[in-house]
């Protein structure tokens, strides 16, 4: 991501990182708004860099939704300031502020722009959109949230993220719906504790980084490109491990944050919510496994005229597989 020829990208990337820090560490809500504006201002040049039709349309849609959300956010900040509702979190103003932040994140029911834009971006821009751009809205959400409203939004996120990905053939849209589903988990972890959110977010971004770097190295954007080339067994295995880890299956790294959240849910008797979390996770794992299972059965496809040579990048792939498998066990050594 940083190894490109354009120094403008490094400049805007620096400002992007800085804008999130401005937004989450400001003393007043106005400073938060300023950080969100600078975030928008510096992300648009990053994504509108190539000269095809797709990137123009992508940056336009991104600009329209994000600017509307941040302007609504500012208006609600002003109303909250003028009516002096600083500590009352159960009213219409907190619902409006949370709605505008949810629109910035791409969470349901404001998610309709998110798969469209993810379809139009390259893999590295997708990585920035799916991980870094979610930090500042989520931390701002944790400062003034409306619990009942957010639980309803979480349920919508989970359902839309799981059911929306069933009919997708583009890998980017698949990861977009998976990202919407994981947003549901992350918003709930904000309501538990911010430390837990940080933990979930770090592991999620690590998993997404592994997947996106694998797809980026193989230059794959669609599902039919996955097995039409002759992949090494270890790349297929790494793909399987990454997908299962993203879905939250037990021996892999992605299970750990979900386990902690489910633990909290069951202890505090959120039984219906636990049911929805579990069932939507099942649907997600279904469509992950649907992608990769046929490459491991006895009769898998092996085209002999397209050979995918990845001699130089195998160490990164093996390292990521190792981390995904062994991190649950290794974590017990660290936190003792």
């Amino acid at each position: 991501m940083l190894t490109n020829n354009n120094s403008n990208k490094m400049f805007f990337l620096f400002i992007l990182f800085f804008s999130t820090l401005i937004s989450i560490s400001s003393n007043s809500w106005f400073g938060c708004w300023i950080g969100l504006e600078i975030n928008l201002l510096s992300f648009i040049p990053l994504i509108s860099n190539s000269k095809n039709l797709l990137s123009v349309e992508t940056s336009l849609k991104y600009f329209l939704t994000q600017s509307l959300a941040s302007i609504n956010f500012l208006f609600m900040i002003l109303i909250k300031f003028s009516l002096l509702k600083n500590f009352d979190m159960n009213n219409i103003i907190s619902i409006m502020m949370n709605s505008s932040l949810l629109m910035k994140m791409g969470s349901a029911p404001f998610h309709f722009w998110f798969p469209n834009i993810v379809e139009g971006l390259s893999w590295m821009n997708n990585f920035m959109l799916m991980t870094w751009q979610k930090i500042s809205p989520m931390i701002l959400l944790s400062y003034y949230f409306n619990k009942n409203f957010l639980i309803f939004m979480i349920i919508m996120n989970l359902i839309i993220g799981s059911l929306g990905g069933l009919n997708q053939t583009s890998l980017r849209k698949l990861l977009a719906f998976s990202s919407i589903n994981n947003l549901g988990w992350m918003i709930f972890s904000i309501m538990i504790s911010e430390n837990l959110w940080l933990f979930y977010f770090l592991i999620y971004s690590m998993m997404i980084f592994m997947m996106i770097s694998l797809f980026f190295l193989m230059n794959m954007y669609f599902m039919n490109q996955l097995f039409i080339n002759n992949m090494n067994f270890f790349i297929k295995l790494n793909l399987l491990i990454n997908f299962l880890s993203l879905g939250g299956l037990p021996p892999f790294m992605g299970f750990m944050p979900k386990w902690i959240i489910i633990n909290f849910l069951l202890i505090n008797k959120f039984y219906f919510l636990t049911f929805i979390f579990m069932m939507t996770s099942l649907i997600i794992i279904y469509y992950y496994i649907r992608i990769i299972y046929s490459s491991f059965m006895f009769n898998y496809f092996k085209m002999k005229w397209v050979n995918l040579l990845m001699k130089n990048n195998m160490s990164l792939i093996n390292l990521s597989s190792f981390i995904s498998i062994s991190s649950m066990i290794l974590s017990t050594f660290i936190f003792m």
Partner: protein, 96 residues
Amino acid sequence: MLIYDIWFLFIYMFFVGNLIFVSKNKHLLVVLLSLEFIVLSIFFFFLVLLMFIDYDMYMLMVFLVFSVCEGSLGLSILVSMIRSHGNDYFQSFSML
């Protein structure tokens, strides 16, 4: 307290601006204009708010600078869209 009826004006302007933003228009420029209208309503609101509590207007200036930056960003995206598509109609979106 008839002076407090001014709040209704801001909310009305804000909602009308949002309504134009989400309506089906032929041109993109109408959407950007509605964004600027919302910015105008927030500017007015901010002005009256800061006057009522006797603050200085510096925050208003900062808000104005950022809104103008955002408006110019929207216009530059409009320009790049016209360069690639030839017009700014919403019908020419077919990719995504």
